[in-house]
Subunit: 243 residues, 4 copies
DNA sequence: GATGAATGAGAATTCATTCAT
DNA sequence: GATGAATGAATTCTCATTCAT
C-alpha cells in the first residue's frame, strides 16, 4: 500500500458545531459518520442516500448528524476534503518521468497510488461528479485537486522536451481523464482494476506521452491482495529485453 | 459536421399517451419538451432539474408533461434513446486503424465524430452518469452503447496484431474513458474541445495503441466555424516529419 | 360598520407561485387560506400556529399551502398587507379635529373605525408585534402603517395651534399607542371594547390633546350588532352637561 | 434614578436544583444566565431566542442551564418575577394625584419610575406579550402586575371625584396602555424616551384624567445623563403660565 | 458543579404525480 | 389537447431536553 491510512486532523463541517473543538468522543462520532457516509454513498450513490441511511449505518441519531454537519452536502464536502488531501499527495509522489524504462516504472508507481486513492474514495469521487454541477465550491475544490495532479503531470511531460502533436496541458488532462474514468467504468462494471490493467494503463500513458517505448522487464511489486501475473511472462520478458 | 441532425422518429415515452399516434401539434409539443429537458439538464444537471423547470422552459404545463412522459426518468430515457442512436453510429464509423498515417487519419475522423456527438448530447451523457447508479435499465442502456464503441475499438486494435503490455479490451475501454472524460472536464472548465485538442487526443490514442507513430503533416478539415490557426507545435511537427 | 369588507385584489405571496396569475379557483383557495390563518392566529397566536393548523382549518393540503405562500411568515405578510390597507384608510378618515364638540364627534367616529379595524385584524396586529423583532420587512410595513396614522393625527393636532407641554408627534404616537394597546388588553382580558369604552377613550384623547373639553350629550350611532344600553354614566354626563 | 438596582434574593427556578441552596458560585452562574437571557431576549425576542443563545452569551453549557432552570419558560418566569417586583413598587410609588400642579408633578415622578422600569425590563415585558397567549400562568402573572398598577391609578382617579365621560377603570387601563405601548414604539423605532417625551406623556395623562390643566413651569429634575435642552414649547409654556 | 454529547419528537418544505375543468 | 390546481408521501432540519463523564 502506497498510501498511508488517512489520519489527518478532522474538523467539523460547516454545521452548527462549526467552531466547536471536538473532544475524543466527538471525534469518534464524527469519524463514524464519515465512514457511514462513505458506505452509504457507495451502496446507493450520493443522491439516493438519505441522511437517514447515514445515521442508521453509523448507529446514531438524526440530531447527532446535524451536530456535526449542516447537511448532506456538508458531509460530502468533508469527505471530499479528505480525498483531496490524498489526491494532492499524488502530486508530489510523481518523480521525473522520461521515455525510458525508469520513466515507465515511475509512472507505474504513480498509477498504483492513483488507483489506490481512487478506490478508497470512489464513492466520493463519483459523488463529486454528481454534485459538481450544483455546488460551485465543491466543484472548485475538486477541480483544484484534479488540476494539481494534471499540472504536475504536464510539467513532467514538458520536462522531456516537446513532443510533436502533443499539447502538454491537454495531454496531462487527457491522462487524468483516462485513468479516472477507467476506474469508474471498471468499478461500475464490477470488474477490478488489477495489476494487469494498471500495466496496460501505464504502458498506454507512457507511449502516448513518449512514443513507442516497450514496458520494462518486471512490473513493480504490489501488495499481495492482487497476485501479480505469473513470473514466466516476466522472465520471458526479461529475456526479450536482454536480446 | 459528421453527424446528421437527429431526425429519427420520435416515439412517445411510456406515458399514458404511449401508444397514441401523435399528430403534428403533439409532435411539436413533445419536441419542445425534449429540447427543454436538454436545456434544463444542461443548466442544472439531471438531479437538480425539476419537472417544473422543464415545463417552464417548454412554456407548457405540468399536465401536458405527463401527457407525453410517464415521469422524469422516462423523459431521460427518451433523450438517451436519441443519444444512443447517434453513439451507435460511431461504431460503424470506425474503419481499420493501423500504425501508419492513414490510421491516424481514420482515428482523427472518428474522434471528430465522437466529439460532435458528445457535445450535442452532453447533458444526456452527464445525466446518464448521474443516474447510472439508481436506474439499472438506463445504466445498462448506456453501458451497451459505450461497450459497443469499445468493442469496435478493441477489434480494430486486435486486428493490428498483439501489442506487448497492452490488453486490447482494457485498452479500448481506456480510450473511451479518456475521450469521454476529457470532454467532460473541458466542458466543465468552460474550455472548448477544439481541433488542436482533438489532434492531441488522436495522437495520444494512436501512440498509446500502436507505439510511436508521428501524426501526419496536416490535420483534417473541420467545420468552418472555428478554423484553428496553425500552431507552432503543428509546424514543428511538420518540420520533423520532413526531416 | 364604518369599514367596507376587504375586497382588495389578492395577490399571491412570495411563494413559488409568486408571479402566477390566479384564476377563480386559485383565488378562492388563497382566500380560504388567509381566512383560516386569521382564525388559527386568533386561536393560538402566531407562534403557536402550525402550518398544519392552517391547512386543516382551510380543509386543504400542505402542498396547496406552499403553492400560495412560501411559508408562515409570508402568509402573515399577506394578511398584514390587507390589514395595512384598512389601517391606511383610517388616515384619510380623520377630518379636522378641534377642541369643540364637533371635534369630539370626529374623534369618536375615527375611534369607532379604528376599533373595528383593530378587532377585525386583531390576530394579525398581535402577530405583528410578535414578529416585528425578527422580520425587518414586516416590521417596517407595520411601522409605516402606524406611522401614517400617527402623522395624520399629528397634523390634526398641530392644526389647532400649539398646545403647551405637548409635542405633536409624541402626542400622536401616544394616542395611537393608547388606543392600540387598550384594545389589546381588553381583548386579552376577554372584555369587549364597547361604546362606553370608546367614549372614555375619545374623551381622554380629546382632553389630552385639547384640554378640558366635555363630551357631547349623546354618543354616536354605531352598528346595531351591540347596541349599548344607555348607561348611568351617560345620563349623568348629559345632566352635568346641561348644568 | 428612582429605582434601586435589583438585588432581590434570587431563587432557583423550577429546575432540578429547585430547592437546592445555592452557594456563591451557583448564584453567580445563575445571575450570568439571567443576564444572558435578558440580552438574548433583547436581541432577538423571546421566541427567536434559543437556549443555545443564552448559554453562549453566558459562556456556559446546556447542561448547566438545566441545572438552574427547568426550561426556557422557567427562565422567563424568573425574570418576570424580578420585573414584577419592580413594577409592583410602582403601585405604591404613586401618591394622591389631583388636577393641580402638585398632581402633575406626582404623575411626572411616577412616569419617570415607570419609564425606568420599562426600559430596564423591556425585553422581559416584550417577552411577556409574546408569551401571554400560550402560557396562562405567566400571562396571569403579567396581568396581575399591570392590573395592580391600573387599579392604583383607578383609585387615584376616582379619589378626585367623578369625571364626566370617564370610566375610572377604563381610564386607568388606557393610561397604562398608553405609557407601556409608547415605550415599546419608541424603543422599537430606536428613539429614546427622553424627558421631553415624558413631559408630554404626563401632560396628556393629566389632562385626560382631570381636564385642561396646564403643566407646571418647570419639569422635574432628572438624572444628568440626558439633560433636555429647554425647548420652545417649554418656554412658551412658562410664559403663558406667567401671564 | 460543570460540561460536551446525544437524542428524537415535531415542524417545515419539496416535488413528482394526479385530477377536474 | 391543454392547463391550473391539488395532493401527500417523503425528507430535511431544528432545538428543547436528557445523559454520561
Amino acid at each position: 500500500m502506497l498510501l498511508a491510512p488517512f489520519d489527518g486532523s478532522i474538523e467539523p463541517g460547516g454545521g452548527p458545531a462549526s467552531r466547536r473543538a471536538l473532544r475524543n468522543q466527538g471525534r469518534r462520532t464524527m469519524r463514524k459518520l464519515l465512514d457511514a457516509a462513505m458506505e452509504a454513498f457507495d451502496r446507493r450513490g450520493y443522491h439516493a442516500t438519505r441522511v437517514n441511511d447515514v445515521v442508521e449505518i453509523a448507529k446514531t441519531s438524526h440530531g447527532t448528524f446535524y451536530l456535526y454537519f449542516s447537511n448532506k452536502e456538508d458531509l460530502l464536502r468533508a469527505l471530499a476534503g479528505e480525498a483531496g488531501e490524498v489526491v494532492a499527495a499524488l502530486d508530489t509522489a510523481l518523480g521525473p518521468v522520461g521515455p525510458n524504462d525508469q520513466g515507465w516504472r515511475e509512472l507505474r508507481r504513480w498509477m498504483e497510488g492513483f488507483s489506490e486513492a481512487w478506490q478508497r474514495y470512489a464513492p466520493v469521487l463519483r459523488a463529486w461528479t454528481d454534485l459538481a454541477m450544483s455546488d460551485a465550491e465543491l466543484s472548485a475544490q475538486g477541480h483544484a485537486a484534479a488540476g494539481g495532479v494534471a499540472r504536475t503531470l504536464a510539467s513532467r511531460i514538458a520536462e522531456t522536451g516537446p513532443q510533436p502533436g502533443i499539447d502538454p496541458n491537454a495531454a496531462a488532462e487527457a491522462v487524468v481523464a483516462m485513468v479516472d474514468r477507467f476506474h469508474y467504468l471498471r468499478q461500475f462494471a464490477g470488474e477490478p482494476v488489477d495489476a494487469s490493467a494498471l500495466d496496460t494503463l501505464t504502458t498506454m500513458v507512457h507511449r502516448a506521452l513518449f512514443g513507442g517505448g516497450i514496458p520494462p522487464l518486471v512490473s513493480l511489486a504490489r501488495d499481495g491482495s492482487a497476485p501479480p501475473a505469473p513470473k514466466k511472462t516476466r522472465a520471458a520478458n526479461g529475456a526479450r529485453k536482454k536480446a
